[in-house]
Symmetry: C2
Subunit: 200 residues, 2 copies
């Protein structure tokens, strides 16, 4: 069985949203599974001194246009959120808690949040929005509260982000395939080529 693909993402990253929609099918076509790792991109940016693309002069307007166009390219809806970037700590903690306790719910949770943020203009840092998305998946508000406040989940999210940086992750989405690093949704064609050829 070939090694799983490691997929690092932040829920406030538009290109992570697009990649998340694509990576499972791409991996499955080549007999691979995907390990999903929520990380805190804001923490990574502070460590590397990098800014979000939308915060850089001139680049900001282009980026918003490119988010939408890159989504259209694969047939996905995109509506840039009024509040952006958003704080994803609670959402990411709940993701890890689900990976531990209800693993089948983790990816649906992530995809539902991406859709809420990037197609419905919902602020996923808002507890009420998290509760609403949870409810649509059969997760109770009390479960979500427990998940978001579990100290071991807090530690795990911090550790996951630290490990990502130690491994060379400086942005999202970020992938490792057979140890080879790939940064960005726009590297999916190279990942596909790698999976087909066994490395190039």
């Amino acid at each position: 069985m070939p090694a799983p693909i490691d997929f690092y993402f932040d829920l406030t990253s538009p290109y992570s949203y697009i990649a998340a929609d694509q990576i499972e099918a791409l991996a499955a076509q080549h007999g691979r599974t995907v390990n999903w790792h929520p990380i805190l991109l804001g923490f990574v940016f502070r460590t590397t001194g990098v800014s979000a693309p939308t915060e850089i002069p001139i680049k900001g307007d282009y980026s918003k246009r490119d988010f939408a166009r890159s989504a259209r390219m694969v047939g996905l809806d995109y509506r840039h959120p009024d509040v952006f970037p958003v704080n994803t700590i609670a959402a990411a903690r709940i993701t890890i808690w689900l990976q531990w306790r209800k693993p089948d719910m983790a990816k649906p949770w992530v995809m539902a949040l991406f859709k809420a943020l990037f197609t419905q203009n919902k602020n996923i840092s808002d507890q009420a929005v998290l509760a609403e998305v949870g409810q649509s998946l059969g997760l109770s508000a009390s479960e979500l509260g427990e998940a978001a406040n579990d100290p071991s989940v807090k530690d795990a999210l911090k550790a996951r982000t630290d490990e990502a940086m130690a491994r060379g992750v400086f942005g999202a989405p970020f992938f490792f395939v057979d140890g080879e690093p790939f940064w960005g949704n726009d590297r999916l064609p190279q990942i596909e080529h790698w999976l087909k050829t066994g490395g190039f």
Copy 2:
């Protein structure tokens, strides 16, 4: 006749090298021509406050790996230069001079410099290297000297860079197709889709 594609590049940009190798054939397949615009990326970066990817912590090592892999992906050789980035003012000035005086020589000149820098580890800020590359194309050292020191060419390079920034260029390679901006060699698939569909 559909509008030409505008292609902004800097000779020290690895992704510009890869894109330069690809864009003419892609454009021709769709009945388009390409206008090549040398710009000074260092000046653009100083204006926008952006750093070259190789100068950002963690991102630097990844970038060098990605330059080579992105070149291999399209069957191009790549050897990261010992001196990088290099000053491309003289090379860019000569490019504009050739566009004015010997237009058929401008693209061969650019491609020969990209090859010298990114496959032969030659420092294209060095006058002797420029002379050697010029000689291989039948351009004399005195012609090159005249080109590099022509005051109107100096002004034109500055104006070309200023115009690029005014138009929204913040990196290289950068393209405009029917007015639509595309940044990066990795946007060639979107450009291809745009050319096929007339916009999406």
